[in-house]
């Protein structure tokens, strides 16, 4: 498994661990904090973001120390092609989500529901990005 594939797996795991429970919690329905502004959900989001950063930081350190220098080469043309493909896929998910959140949700939802929906689509786009990276490296793996 290449270094960049490991990084993509790490990013996916960090997002699943941090944002999975967050969206399960906020997805249960509008809480008592629904009217804006309210700092409770913001604090919760900051907490899960810090958890994600910690997982990423520890993971990067582990992978950097555990991978030989030649594994950590700059992007080559295949890496750039995979990056381009994955970002294109993520872009469409992000645009679709933002259209839904910005153009349709204001007619039916308010406050933190809209904010969390926007965060969800950003995270979904990131998940698509790293998933396409992992899938591309898997498909092109020689063994």
């Amino acid at each position: 498994m290449s270094y960049r594939e490991k990084i993509a797996w790490l990013s996916l795991i960090a997002m699943a661990v941090a944002y999975g429970p967050y969206f399960m919690f906020v997805g249960r329905g509008p809480g008592p904090w629904e009217p804006l502004p309210h700092l409770h959900p913001l604090g919760l989001f900051a907490l899960v973001s810090m958890v994600r950063m910690l997982i990423l930081g520890a993971g990067y350190l582990y992978l950097r120390l555990g991978s030989p220098r030649e594994e950590r080469q700059p992007l080559d043309e295949r890496d750039r092609a995979i990056e381009h493909r994955s970002l294109s896929a993520a872009y469409y998910v992000l645009i679709a989500g933002m259209i839904l959140v910005g153009c349709f949700m204001p007619f039916s939802s308010t406050g933190w529901t809209i904010v969390n929906a926007a965060i969800f689509w950003i995270v979904a786009a990131e998940v698509i990005h790293y998933s396409v990276v992992v899938a591309s490296y898997r498909v092109q793996a020689s063994s």
Binding site: S2, Q73, D76, E77, R78, D79, Q140, A141, S142
Partner: protein, 78 residues
Amino acid sequence: MMQGSISNRIRTLRFMNGEMSQAELGQRIGLTRQTIAAIEAGKYSPSLEAAFRIAQVFKVPLGEVFQWDVEATPLKAS
């Protein structure tokens, strides 16, 4: 459209050049070992520039490294 697939002789050429490793070949043309492995296995088609670089390393024409295998396509009845 003409159907076909790209095959290559990189493994053979590496063997003929002192069992050159994938990592060494990659280093000489600015690609990672994994990319060389993917090209060798036919799972990634390199850019024209990278293809020329590979041929240059082995000091052979491009056609000796990569081949375009045309697949026979049945004629459509009109």
